[in-house]
Symmetry: D2
Subunit: 360 residues, 4 copies
Amino acid sequence: MKELNQYRIGILGATGAVGQKFVEILAGHPWFKVTALAASEKSAGKRYEDAVNWIGHVPVPQDIARMKVMPLAPDLDCDFVFSGLSASVAGVAERAFAAAGYPVISNARNYRMDARVPLLIPEVNPNHTALIRTQAWPGGGFIVTNPNCSTVGLTCALRPLHDAFGVDLVQVTTFQALSGAGYPGVPSLDVLGNVVPFIGGEEEKLETEPQKLLGMLAGDQVQHAPITISAQCNRVPVLEGHLECVSLKMRQLASLEEVRQVFERFRSPVAGYGLPSEPRKLLHVFDDDRYPQPRLHALLEGGMGVGIGRIRKCEVLDYKFVVLVHNTVRGAAGGAVLNAELLVRQGFLQKMPAGAGAPG
Amino acid sequence: MKELNQYRIGILGATGAVGQKFVEILAGHPWFKVTALAASEKSAGKRYEDAVNWIGHVPVPQDIARMKVMPLAPDLDCDFVFSGLSASVAGVAERAFAAAGYPVISNARNYRMDARVPLLIPEVNPNHTALIRTQAWPGGGFIVTNPNCSTVGLTCALRPLHDAFGVDLVQVTTFQALSGAGYPGVPSLDVLGNVVPFIGGEEEKLETEPQKLLGMLAGDQVQHAPITISAQCNRVPVLEGHLECVSLKMRQLASLEEVRQVFERFRSPVAGYGLPSEPRKLLHVFDDDRYPQPRLHALLEGGMGVGIGRIRKCEVLDYKFVVLVHNTVRGAAGGAVLNAELLVRQGFLQKMPAGAGAPG
Amino acid sequence: MKELNQYRIGILGATGAVGQKFVEILAGHPWFKVTALAASEKSAGKRYEDAVNWIGHVPVPQDIARMKVMPLAPDLDCDFVFSGLSASVAGVAERAFAAAGYPVISNARNYRMDARVPLLIPEVNPNHTALIRTQAWPGGGFIVTNPNCSTVGLTCALRPLHDAFGVDLVQVTTFQALSGAGYPGVPSLDVLGNVVPFIGGEEEKLETEPQKLLGMLAGDQVQHAPITISAQCNRVPVLEGHLECVSLKMRQLASLEEVRQVFERFRSPVAGYGLPSEPRKLLHVFDDDRYPQPRLHALLEGGMGVGIGRIRKCEVLDYKFVVLVHNTVRGAAGGAVLNAELLVRQGFLQKMPAGAGAPG
Amino acid sequence: MKELNQYRIGILGATGAVGQKFVEILAGHPWFKVTALAASEKSAGKRYEDAVNWIGHVPVPQDIARMKVMPLAPDLDCDFVFSGLSASVAGVAERAFAAAGYPVISNARNYRMDARVPLLIPEVNPNHTALIRTQAWPGGGFIVTNPNCSTVGLTCALRPLHDAFGVDLVQVTTFQALSGAGYPGVPSLDVLGNVVPFIGGEEEKLETEPQKLLGMLAGDQVQHAPITISAQCNRVPVLEGHLECVSLKMRQLASLEEVRQVFERFRSPVAGYGLPSEPRKLLHVFDDDRYPQPRLHALLEGGMGVGIGRIRKCEVLDYKFVVLVHNTVRGAAGGAVLNAELLVRQGFLQKMPAGAGAPG
């Protein structure tokens, strides 16, 4: 029964690190059922369990393990696709799927800053999905993206502060987990007992994406928020969970207690929508100076929550604090799934008649 | 021959992590010869090799291994002492040694901010040793301190910038190595694959010590430099080498190239003194975006150099860059040894007649 | 309702690493409800959340967090106790509780090799609980122990082989996780990027405990199995999961396929008892040469399963293979909880009337 | 002057992990001077510093950094070559260099078990170089190999035992460092906080190479030693240093003290040759139960020594102990350099007249 009511899902880049997280997260999802896996030519044609170098803690779900991996061509048997593709192929492939009428819920960076593409965090800017109507693909396809993994944590923390006091300047230094680099990613010889103070392209994303996410929808456009961000991004020997040391200046005066309360009292604008992946509580404020920590708290709310700790005065700007986000759940696959759930509730996603194959 | 001309050295806290580094670094030192080891009651009376949980990469030097550990009483057979004591005992013990006429070259934090005690980095503020004359211990004893391990790297980098352009505001986020916490220090269960965003008391030190170090000597006093510093200190699973992400604002405009050149052209004010532990070059500027890294570069110049990399514009302040310092060499024992060498050259340290025992 | 039917549980050593696992595992247990926490004087009198240095991934259960920690005196309000005490205090404390009429389900090593105390793994030797009747405590108290963490994995793997072919000689080299050393346990400076080829007392336990566990109950005694074991125990920088490389000689010839099938077809002798913590399947055989691995598979069956991989011929003895066991779940708290569940089914544990306080 | 007397050296596979160690180790070598670097097409034509992803702790030597990398063709300007090539290309390339008249001192596995090729550890089987005369390359080229990194430690430990008592059976379980897998090698996501109980092809090498190394030269052949070895090889998150847990049975009875003394009194058969890379003492016996450890002791004797610890009775075989060897120094590049030094002393290596270019 239930199956009849589920959306049929395709995963683009299903064998990669993000694709694997999609598989993991969608196992048992009440609304979505994986019916198609697609990956590069190297994997296409193989059974998923043979094609994938599975890096998860729990085994590949049985039914998925035996599915055949398809090539990255837009004729998958599904209602819409999640894209965990790497940026090098996502540009062409996602466009092809959208042009063929597929909604593409993407984790890739290629279209994030495209003015017609929503860069979406449901708790932050749910109304930005209005941009979908500006996408003029034949057949009803569209692209929606979620932000870079390091952007998500920062932006979730900034949302209530920006609403309450207006954020002006932000300094952020990141401690990013290895899984953010995909698989095989960072060689162990480079990072064991070490820190690498550089992640290519990361600082640019972290300095610009929050401006779009926190921007105002005005007609058919998003006006980027006038927040100046300076980012310093580093790789640390941690498996999951990006930690970020943030310092910021706000346009309006606020006491430490007010800042703390604005975090504590934040209520998601989509809290009533019943989205299965939405955390009960987005922002978790820690009072223990030692927290949050990646290994202990990345899985807050199943990895969909954001930890905030060490809120205190900054000698140079106004306040400083620490943010923690699970980079491959909230910061990637889980964020995309939540985006899809919002799109369902907003009426942007349709189920095809059974047996209809691809949309469009 | 050589031995006759060497200073006889005592090490306070000889079995601790810093004390061990003193032992390691002083092996083969041309001017200094360890003649006394002192530690807490638990160790006193034992042979050093039996008392110590040796954590170094090379074995305990043979002659040191068999020395008897003495209690922390000021009657050691030596010309002066290095102190690697923990703060909980350093206050009383160092004062007792100074009062008994021993020069105390200390790594502990207790007297660092005392207005009569030089907080010393030879390349940064060699003239601050003039404060010694304000110390009124009977018998000629005195205390000189070196800064906190995370302070050293930052301050060495700030010195030439402050001289050239006047540093106004500094944001610094640290990635601190485990050895900075001493031994046993951080439990492995707390930090393996993790980051701990808090180190007790560390931010306060990093926000104030550079102000004294970069201050001007005016008569009998040091006028602290008017630099505002905001620090966020974190422990990472790295053995040696504190990495620091720095962002700063200067009082005077300067181009990126000027900033870079100021680092490159920095020349130590004590370069001509022939101090054995002074690095050939203090500041090493890296052009490779991935550098410096703790594991690869902490041992620059035998651990006495400071690495600087990723110099670039900051969107919020003026410039940002990465600093690396070896926390237990330059940031602790090695820094103290270099301090002692400077004090020799400046005439503050005297050799006792052979067989005279303790000074004072 | 449910609460009325639950056994009331005390935890001895509740703030230690094993005690914390008891708290974690018993949250939501259908039969057991924690009603008392006891620990050393340092913690007694505090609220649990204030006394504990919580090292788990999920927060302390709310109701437990606020419970008051009691001293280690045998007047706890509970039907029986789990002991996660360290060996230095377990001897006296467990005896005191047993003498006061409390059943003590212990994870400590003190009474494991006592001839009257069952050393118990439900799937391996459920009938050894008959030894309880040889314990002559006034008031009905008794002690039951579970084996050392490294013993459990090995013994579970040996059980079916010993039944089928008779195990004669065993060589085992362990790769033991940090959590096996408790908290604070191994200093990070000792073990980051390192292996420590020694764990005090561990080899002795691993060489003798399996002999008792695999022994035959004869009347009031257990005749130890005539298996010769040589163990080499090592600490590795892994958080959870002991890996063991095993090589063995059997009394009876068997083909590689027979060995494999004996593992695959093993059926727990208590499979029909409906014990909540019993894994669906105890032994999981991996065909992928790279498996099992601690980080990926320690949580097999919620940490109660045992992984076996790389089954192959040994050039010196008969066969060799790799065993993986979760050291703090199956190898400690989880094993003890399963023991208690078996004791419930076997009728050894009684519920006190509500409000009766302590037993005895 | 000195330069005129040095052998001119080529390095095959100069940009790989082993090739880099050759570069590092040969810097300042009294007999050898690197005059040619060769690598795959990807690197050929570039300056070394641009072609290499340098993973060492100290910077690339200045003169080497600017050398041009040549293709893998046998017309290098040098007297002989070291090969750090991977097995996939070493077979063809080394044969081509030997056929062109170059002596090839190889670290690759391809020709190790070839009956005409010496598998050489100078302290173990220096007379096996007699096999060189059975190689019939036109022009005087030949191939000499050093063993697999995990073989070296074990075999050095077995040599004196085999001489004194006759080794019969060996069980060995390894804890192998990441650098043994080359670069990029093991992905950090696979091995951080983990153990991988499989290294492709490693167990076979460790079970057979010691038989050849400990074999007797009889005429033109080496008769392999009749020692049965069973190996279990594992990757651990350690940077450098393979630790091995060994258990063995000997043909002749010996006391624990005799075994210990045989290790302690071992004297290298080439001790008087003055080979620059030969360790002062090959076997270092540790009395501290916790030693040897990879991070603390891999660099024994500059990485050319072998650590032995925990010598004790084995319940199953006769004795067990722990062996430690630096896998990329003694176990790879350093071992090859020592081999070349022996070949110089034995007269197998000739200097070409200056300007003569390639040999042959």
